[in-house]
């Protein structure tokens, strides 16, 4: 028994250890939520059109597999915004401003793409960093407000979603190089600023997804291995205890929001700098006064991934996957909105599932403890 007690949690391959970990229960909770969400989605599909429900549902489930490149391509920006929301959430901050940070990041990347003339091979890298900077700028402001004036970050970041979006739309529309008024969209970006493609035919998937995964792993290491991660999580769990332990709460709030903003900003850069499968074109942005949906999808991704960076890699990929499937369900006459309903239900259930899972976990633990006590007693 003594040996087991001294086991290190990081060598957590032991199944018994695994089932006890928070990550495992979050994972099973997510699976449960997905299953319930899909069942509910299927019911909605049956109600909408009973004849096509099965073939439509098959598209939703496995449609994305045939287009895995696209799945990863669309997963990239929501993975980044998911990380932006999830990382801040670990500190107890609800960064609802990922949309604004994403839009700012996208704009900064666009600006560098059009207005700076840099050599091939460097241009896109600089543009990504510019995007990160833009997001950081939009993240630091709610952070400063929260840290020094105790203004709720939800309120500031919602307002900054609008400010960011209108500001960007205004500047873009006023810039003749970036904007083509006749097409009410941005011009095609030069190819030097497009992120190298991964070369999967018919898809725009690019190095961005690799970067996103590397960043997620890096964040995981920061959270689990560093003193900063220790402080950040401690603050998220119990900010009073963090104060008591002398942690610099204000600095950590600002730092966390800067990092979160930078992540979302890079997400915007990855989205706009993606290469186009059609030669001579690029991604474009339409300044039509709509808040970037990828920002809000990031909240769903973070929730489903339990704000765990590794979980977010999978949840972003999954949500992207069923979104592709939803688009394909169009082929048999379903509106793609049906998939939005399914995603909404999955998120809804994931909150329930966490509770149910915790209850089941407690129950099992209680049984084990009881048996344990009994054997202990008998041993005496």
């Amino acid at each position: 028994m003594q040996d087991k007690q001294t086991q290190t949690p990081k060598k957590g391959f032991d199944l018994k250890q695994l089932t006890k970990s928070r990550g495992f229960s979050a994972f099973t909770a997510a699976l449960l939520a997905i299953a319930l969400g899909l069942i509910f989605g299927f019911i909605v599909m049956i109600l909408a059109n009973p004849d096509k429900a099965i073939s439509g549902f098959r598209y939703v489930l496995v449609g994305g597999l045939g287009r895995f490149g696209d799945v990863l391509y669309f997963a990239t920006p929501i993975m980044m915004t998911g990380l932006a929301v999830g990382f801040a959430f670990r500190m107890g901050l609800f960064n609802i401003g990922a949309s604004g940070q994403y839009t700012m990041g996208m704009f900064f990347a666009l600006y560098v793409g059009f207005m700076w003339d840099l050599p091939n091979g460097i241009h896109w890298i600089v543009a990504i960093f510019a995007g990160m900077l833009g997001g950081m700028l939009w993240g630091i402001i709610p952070g400063l407000f929260k840290a020094f004036l105790n203004v709720n970050e939800v309120i500031t970041s919602i307002m900054f979603n609008y400010i960011g979006m209108y500001l960007v739309d205004m500047i873009i529309q006023g810039n003749g190089v970036i904007y083509i008024a006749s097409k009410s969209r941005t011009n095609y970006l030069p190819s030097t600023v497009q992120i190298p493609s991964l070369g999967i035919t018919g898809s725009n998937v690019n190095l961005g997804i690799i970067f996103a995964i590397i960043i997620a792993i890096a964040l995981f290491i920061v959270l689990e291995r560093t003193t900063f991660g220790y402080e950040l999580k401690a603050t998220g769990f119990n900010k009073y205890a963090a104060d008591y332990a002398g942690m610099k709460g204000k600095r950590n709030i600002v730092l966390t929001m800067v990092i979160a903003g930078g992540l979302a900003g890079m997400g915007g850069a990855f989205a706009i700098l993606a290469p186009s499968a059609i030669a001579g074109s690029s991604m474009t942005y339409e300044p039509i006064n709509i808040i970037a949906a990828n920002g809000f999808n990031g909240i769903a991704v973070a929730l489903l991934g339990s704000s765990n960076p590794i979980g977010i890699i999978f949840s972003a990929t999954f949500i992207s996957h069923i979104q592709r499937g939803g688009t394909l369900a169009n082929l048999v006459g379903y509106k793609p909105e049906i998939i939005d309903i399914v995603i909404a239900v999955i998120i809804y259930f994931s909150a329930f599932a966490m509770i149910m899972n915790a209850a089941i976990g407690r129950f099992i633990k209680a049984r084990i403890n009881k048996r344990h006590q009994k054997t202990e007693k008998e041993a005496k």
């Binding site: 220790y230 769990f237 119990n238 205890a241 963090a242 332990a245 002398g246 407690r362």
Partner: protein
């Protein structure tokens, strides 16, 4: 066959993971004060909640006057004449005393409140039992002792004949306690039956006829108090002999460790200052106790002392260094260890493992990190050492989630962490709050051991026994001021109570002289 008014037979109540009541039987005679004794977590409150209808038992039955009754909610209990004064009062702060008493059973005519009728009845009861109150005062303006009277009157107004008191004396001054016990006796003589939950043996000896003891959810026994004694009861409660006296040799007082001058802290609740011009010193090798009734500025003072809150005036010097403006971390590094009042709010990150909590004050030191990366092996080794030395028990050792540990072991973990950290001054705020006798004994021993190791100890306590037994010097705080300095050897609990309730105070001159 005795004539019992209430019989709780073979009650079993389970919560996920624990059996709070395991086959417990309790019989209440008409006209007796029946004490229910047990450590924290023994199942006293659960059992009473079953009787009051807040919980339903899985097994067992409740009888009233020999008839089996089903109590599904507090309204059922009320209808059976069962009333309860909860440990944390259930009063509407912004209502008047009268409104609170009649809440839920308001006399009305065609839906119009008949206040004067209610008032008459309340005042009659108040006079009859000597529970003087001001019916028009707002709850938020009256003292805790007064609020308790309101709770008692609530039961009487509903004509309850079985009265449950859940740890009623925890919030009272010695004088108020005395009065309450007298009132309880009076109820019993009048034929009402009292169930009195407590873990204070003195009160049981004073007021109770019989006493039922629970331990870890199990029924241990019922004794006639007159035929028993404190030692027997405590042994039944804890399961072993308990040493009530804190063994300590005379203090060897050395240099000043902490010097506090003119500390003033504004209140968060009202315009007045919560702490007013407090000055004192703590020397190495002594335990100074800051005594007082809850809410007299102790919490605010400690927050200012440890850096959790700002103060508006005054200076604090620790081992000769002015730390008035220092951050929490700087104070900690300068030699201040702090066992906080609320271990769940401040002392621990409950979701973190035991080892993570053990380094809460030290994770940033080179011993435990390199270039910002935590040295997990060092943390593990350090935590294992502390767990061993301080006998901190948990399910999985260093990787146990602290939330899953018992209160006593959580507190031991904090004490281990704060004592092992380099320090000259240990600030211990209500270190034994909510703990059982065994854990209290352990903690007192640790405090005395710190003192003997030449550290200064500032103990903030509400428990009179603790104040009298552990400290070398007592400072009494009342309404944010230090109103007296006492030597525990030359003072009585009664005198201490007079200071605590503001009835007596030294002049400032006397205090300065003594200090």
């Amino acid at each position: 066959m005795e004539n019992y008014i209430v019989e709780m037979l073979n009650i079993t109540k389970e919560f996920p993971g624990i059996i709070a009541n395991d086959n417990i039987t309790l019989n209440l005679k008409k006209g007796e004060v029946h004490a229910l004794l047990g450590e924290n977590g023994a199942g006293k409150s659960t059992l009473m909640s079953v009787l009051f209808g807040l919980y339903q038992a899985e097994k067992g039955e409740i009888r009233k006057n020999g008839q089996v009754v089903k109590i599904n909610n507090p309204n059922d209990a009320n209808a059976l004449g069962i009333g309860m004064v909860h440990q944390h009062f259930k009063l509407v702060e912004i209502f008047t005393v009268l409104e609170n008493i009649i809440l839920g059973v308001e006399p009305n005519k065609l839906g119009f409140l008949q206040k004067s009728e209610a008032k008459e009845k309340v005042m009659a009861l108040s006079e009859k039992y000597g529970l003087s109150i001001n019916p028009d005062a707002l709850i938020e303006d009256i003292s805790v002792g007064m609020q308790q009277r309101v709770e008692i009157l609530k039961m009487l107004y509903r004509d309850n004949e079985i009265l449950i008191f859940d740890e009623p004396t925890a919030v009272l001054t010695p004088q108020e306690i005395k009065e309450l016990l007298k009132i309880m006796r009076g109820f019993a003589e009048e034929g009402k039956s009292i169930l009195f939950i407590t873990h204070k043996l003195n009160e049981i000896m004073e007021v109770a006829d019989r006493c039922t003891v629970l331990r870890k959810g199990k029924y241990i026994g019922t004794v006639n108090v007159k035929e028993s004694n404190k030692e027997e009861l405590s042994k039944m409660m804890v399961g072993r002999d308990v040493n009530f006296n804190v063994d300590k040799k005379p203090a060897e007082i050395k240099d000043v460790v902490l010097s506090v001058k003119g500390v003033t802290v504004p209140s968060k609740h009202h315009k007045n200052n919560a702490v007013k011009d407090v000055s004192f010193e703590v020397r190495a090798g002594e335990i100074v106790c800051l005594a007082g009734i809850e809410g007299n500025g102790q919490t605010e003072f400690v927050a200012a002392l440890t850096g959790l809150d700002k103060m508006s005036a005054g200076t604090i010097t620790l081992s000769g260094k002015d730390i008035t403006k220092s951050s929490i971390r700087e104070r900690s590094v300068s030699g201040m260890s702090h066992i906080p009042e609320d271990r769940h709010k401040h002392g621990l990150v409950l979701e973190y493992s035991l080892e993570q909590n053990m380094v809460l004050q030290r994770y940033w030191q080179p011993e435990f990190q390199k270039n910002g990366f935590i040295k997990f092996d060092a943390v593990r080794k350090y935590a294992e050492g502390l767990i061993e030395r301080f006998d901190v028990r948990s399910g999985q050792g260093p990787i146990s989630v602290v939330r899953s540990m018992s209160g006593g072991n959580q507190q031991k973990a904090i004490i281990a962490r704060e004592i092992d950290k380099k320090h000259d001054l240990l600030v211990a705020v209500q270190p034994t709050r909510g703990l059982d006798v065994g854990a209290i004994e352990y903690i007192h021993k640790q405090l005395v051991e710190r003192r003997d190791a030449g550290k200064g100890v500032l103990l903030v306590s509400l428990e009179l026994d603790e104040v009298m037994n552990v400290s070398d010097r007592i400072l009494v705080m009342y309404e944010g001021e230090i109103v007296g300095e006492l030597d525990p050897k030359n003072t009585t609990v009664q005198e201490l109570g007079l200071y605590m309730s503001g009835a007596k105070r030294n002049t400032a001159k006397e205090i300065n002289h003594a200090g």
